[in-house]
Structures are given as C-alpha cells and as structure tokens.
C-alpha cells in the first residue's frame, strides 16, 4: 500500500473514532458497566484497525468492525481474569450478540444512558463534566485537566476513581423513570453547560463559570438533542450556547482587550449561529414547558436582536430575568436581574436589588462587584464606586477584564 492510501486509512480511522467514540463506549459498557474496560478495548481495536485496514482495505462498515474487535478483546479480557462464573451473564450476552452481529447491523445507541450515568447523583458533581468529555467525546485526561486547572495526573486519577464507582457502585445504565427524569436531566444539562466558556457577559463583569470547552459543550448538547429531541430544556441549552458563541470574536478587540456586550460591534456577531439559536428556541417554546435554560436563551435572544434593530429592549431582558430569578435564584441570576433593571429603570432600582443579596454569597463573586461599581459610578458616587471597582478588579481572573475595569475606574 502506498503512502497516500495509508494516510487516507489513518484519516478514516480518526474520523470514525471521533464520530463513533461515544456510541461505541456507551454500547460496550452498557452491559458490563465497565467504562474503563470499554475504552481500553476500543483503543486496542483502533490500533488493530491501523494495522489491518491498510493491508486488507477499509471494511464496509468501519464502526461495526471496531465494535466487534473491541467486544472480542473485552471477552478475552474477562476470560483471562478467570472470573468467568461471576461474569457469566455478561460474557453470555456479549458472545451471543457477537455471533448474531452482522457487519452491517445497526447497534442501539446507548449514549443517553451513558450521559445519565456520568451525571448520576452518586458521582461527585465535579466529575460529571470530565466524565462526559472523556467517555462520550473521547477527550484525553490531559486536555480535560487543562480546562479544569489541575494536573493531568490528578485528573487521570479522579477519572479512574469515578469509573470504578460506576463499575462497582451499582449505578444502572438506564433512562431514569418519569418521576426522576427532570432532576436527572438537569444534572446532565448542568454538566454540559459547565464545559462551556463564558457564562454571563451581558453585565459589566464576567462570570468565568465555564471551562472554555465551548465546541465540546455544543457538540454534547447536539448529541443529547439527537437522543431526546422533545426536551425543550435541552433545546434551550443549545440555543443559549449558540447565542453566546455567536459573539465570541466580538468579545475581544484588536489587542485582545475585553469588549463588554453593550460596546460590541454587532457586525462581528455570527448571523448563522444566531439564526440557528432562534430556530431552536422557537421550537423549545412550542412545548409550553418553560425552564431555566430557555429563559437564559431568551435573555440572549433579546440581546441578539440588536443586530437588526440597533438597540436593546432592556425591559424585555428584565422581564425574562424576573422569571428566571423565580425558578433559579442563584447569585448570578439575581446580579443579572439587577443589571437589567438598572438599564430599564435607572441605577437606583438596580442597586436596591443588589442590596437584597446576602453579603456572604457575593464575597468572591466578581460580576456582583463589577455591576455595583458601574451603577455607583452612574449615580456619581465616585469614591464608593472606585472602592467597589477595586473589589471587582481584585476578583477578576482575566487580565483583559482587569485592564478594562482599571480603565473604567479611572
């Protein structure tokens, strides 16, 4: 085989690995509950493909080929461990399916179960997102660790521990029943959103809630939506992330300086992303079951209107925030509500809402201080504003945001 063909085979393997990774891991672990073994078997199958495909040519259905190869290596592994009696049912299930399996057969998509397992209440919430990124998207521990500000070794150990818990902790691979579904789905949505970059930038501050894995988060949301197209909140989440993503390039100036939403050049917003977000949000609304992510997306949709009208309908933003505070009174939401009310009804009204938030809850919350400083400045309370800007500057992570606030403080 010549070099070109070899390269093409490698590209095919990479593509199949990227597109099918989660489906294969989910299917392979749904019976055994052993996610780590499924991942190992899949990497082994990929290595085998790298050897065999260039020699024998591409199989007709590469995904099915990988599945069979991975399953055989799991069966071998179980036999080697000589715990056949214990794992008899698993082994039987695997071999039976293996013989019945046809190269071209479609296998069931178990990714939804895997997503629910990753965000199971028995798993440390801090590990929900890393688990999803690894098992569904195939991201390596090093890449995930980078986004979570910890060492690859530590992230690797935590992932191993979580997978042992999944295997041995009696966590079931199943779709939660009606009664539990909405809370369990919330955890899945929250974990996907946690991978996303900027949370709020419609205030004077920036809530660095996410992990700057925006593309991966959007990908996960699309996977989820494929599996449960009738869940309005899943659609709302995708819409929300697309609205925020549409403004990514406008958020930074030529010198990487920070540009707040109100000063962004709308010509730099991505219209295709905004339009896709609008379609999803409209479809989500049709279900008549409003929720947190749909409301957050609705707020962003009002901001996105500026691309057409040139102005922001602040009373509409404030109304959506008011509803959002009612169902999810988190500090970030209440701060956003205060900022919107200030823009709609004046800085005093906004400050009053900020005063209602408990001091304890905001001692390390940067957007609260940035909004407060902005409103105090508008009211001409220069000394107080300067002090408060200091607090916001001290809590900023992003040097560009810090510079922006230092300039505003004057």
């Amino acid at each position: 085989m010549n070099g070109g063909a070899l390269e093409e085979t490698q590209r095919t393997i990479e593509r199949v690995a990227r597109e099918s990774y989660g489906r294969l891991v989910a299917y392979l672990s749904a019976n055994t509950h052993d996610v780590a073994a499924a991942e190992d078997a899949l990497s082994e199958a990929l290595l085998k493909a790298l050897r065999v495909w260039p020699r024998d040519g591409l199989p007709q259905n590469p995904e099915a080929w990988l599945l069979t190869a991975a399953r055989n290596s799991i069966i071998d592994l179980i036999r080697h461990q000589r715990v056949v009696s214990e794992s008899e049912p698993t082994l039987l299930a695997l071999t039976r399916e293996s013989t019945e399996m046809n190269w071209a057969t479609e296998f069931p998509d178990e990714r939804l179960k895997l997503l629910f397992v990753c965000a199971h209440p028995a798993i440390d919430p801090a590990m929900h997102t890393p688990l999803m990124l690894q098992t569904v998207l195939g991201l390596d521990a090093g890449r995930i660790a980078g986004a979570f500000l910890i060492s690859p070794k530590t992230m690797g150990q935590r992932l191993v521990r979580a997978k042992i818990k999944i295997r041995d902790g009696g966590i079931r691979f199943e779709i939660p029943d009606e009664r539990e579904l909405s809370t369990r789905l919330d955890a899945v949505l929250e974990a996907i959103y946690a991978a996303f970059g900027i949370g709020w930038d419609d205030m004077a501050g920036v809530d660095q809630r996410g992990r700057d894995l925006a593309e991966e988060a959007i990908w996960l949301a699309r996977v989820l939506l494929q599996l449960i197209p009738d869940e309005p909140e899943a659609r709302g989440l995708l819409a929300l992330m697309l609205y925020c993503e549409s403004r990514r390039t406008a958020r930074r100036g030529p010198d990487r300086d920070y540009i707040p939403l109100s000063e962004q050049d709308t010509k730099q917003w991505s219209l295709p992303s905004i339009e896709e977000a609008e379609r999803h949000l409209a479809e989500a609304f049709q279900h008549g079951r409003i929720g947190r992510f749909q409301l957050e997306a609705a707020i962003q949709s009002v901001h996105s209107e500026r691309v057409r009208t040139g102005r922001t309908e602040w009373p509409a933003v404030a109304r959506f925030y008011e509803q959002l505070v009612r169902i999810s009174p988190a500090v970030g939401t209440r701060t956003g509500y205060a900022a919107a009310v200030a823009d709609a009804n004046g800085p005093e009204a906004g400050l009053e809402l900020l005063d209602d938030i408990e001091a304890e809850a905001v001692s390390a919350y940067q957007p609260y201080w940035a909004v407060r400083a902005h409103l105090l400045q508008k009211l001409g309370k220069t000394v107080e504003a300067s002090d408060t800007y200091g607090r916001a500057i001290g809590l900023s992570e992003d040097p560009a945001v810090r510079e922006f606030l230092l300039r505003k403080r004057g």
């Binding site: 500000l149 910890i150 001692s363």
Partner: protein
C-alpha cells in the same frame, strides 16, 4: 485549612516592581489584596526581593557552600507568597487564578502541613 499561594514571577514581572505606583500590575495586586481581605480569607504573606538578592547555603561533608542567587536557575523565580484560609483546594485554585501574577508568571498552590508543624513545634 490553610493554603500557600507561591508566586513565581518572570524577569518581566520583577522588572515591573521598579515602575511607579500607577502601574496597572501593582494596581491589580492592590485590588487583589483588598478582595482577599474583604472575603475574610487572608492570613498573611509577603513579597520577596528580586532573586538576584538571594543567597543559597548548603552543608556538604561538613563544609559550608554558599552560592550567590537562588538554588534553581529557571526563568520563573519565587517572588512572594500568600497564605489563605480556605475550605478546599478548588476554592484555592479559584483564588490562585485571580492572582495578577497568574497571567504573567505562575502561582503554585500548596496546602500547609500543620501536622508536620506540630511535630516540630510541640515535641
């Protein structure tokens, strides 16, 4: 529990120190200190003089070896430390990320070792 944030600065970071008080890096440090104070987590800390002022001592075979400058010859050098009282490593990492030095140098987070201190101080 208490954590030390060990602040490593590049030569450029150390150079900023000789600028006047209006420099934005120093203004950012002032704001950072204030935020820690007001959050009620600040225990202590100090900046160190530039690495060139350091002197390293080692005893080998009973002899004293004195070396001009810090022990390790790396680009980023210890420039100061801050001790914070915090509930968890995750919170400590958040504070380290807000440290102005994190964007031009590096901040290492280490828990203090009170058990070790007890062995030294009490026994």
């Amino acid at each position: 529990m208490q954590f030390a944030l060990l602040i490593y600065e590049s030569p450029e970071g150390f150079a900023i120190r000789s600028n006047d008080g209006s420099d934005s890096y120093i203004a950012a440090w002032r704001a950072y200190y204030k935020a820690m104070e007001e959050a009620g987590i600040y225990v202590g800390g100090d900046p160190l003089q530039v690495p060139e002022t350091g002197t390293t001592v080692r005893i080998k075979d009973g002899r004293r070896y004195v070396q001009d400058g810090p022990y390790a010859d790396t680009k980023e050098q210890l420039g100061g430390f801050t001790i914070l009282e915090l509930p968890s490593l995750d919170v400590a990492l958040d504070w380290a990320a807000r440290c102005p030095a994190a964007s031009i140098g590096a901040v290492e987070v280490r828990p203090l070792a009170p058990a070790m201190k007890d062995r030294i101080v009490r026994e």
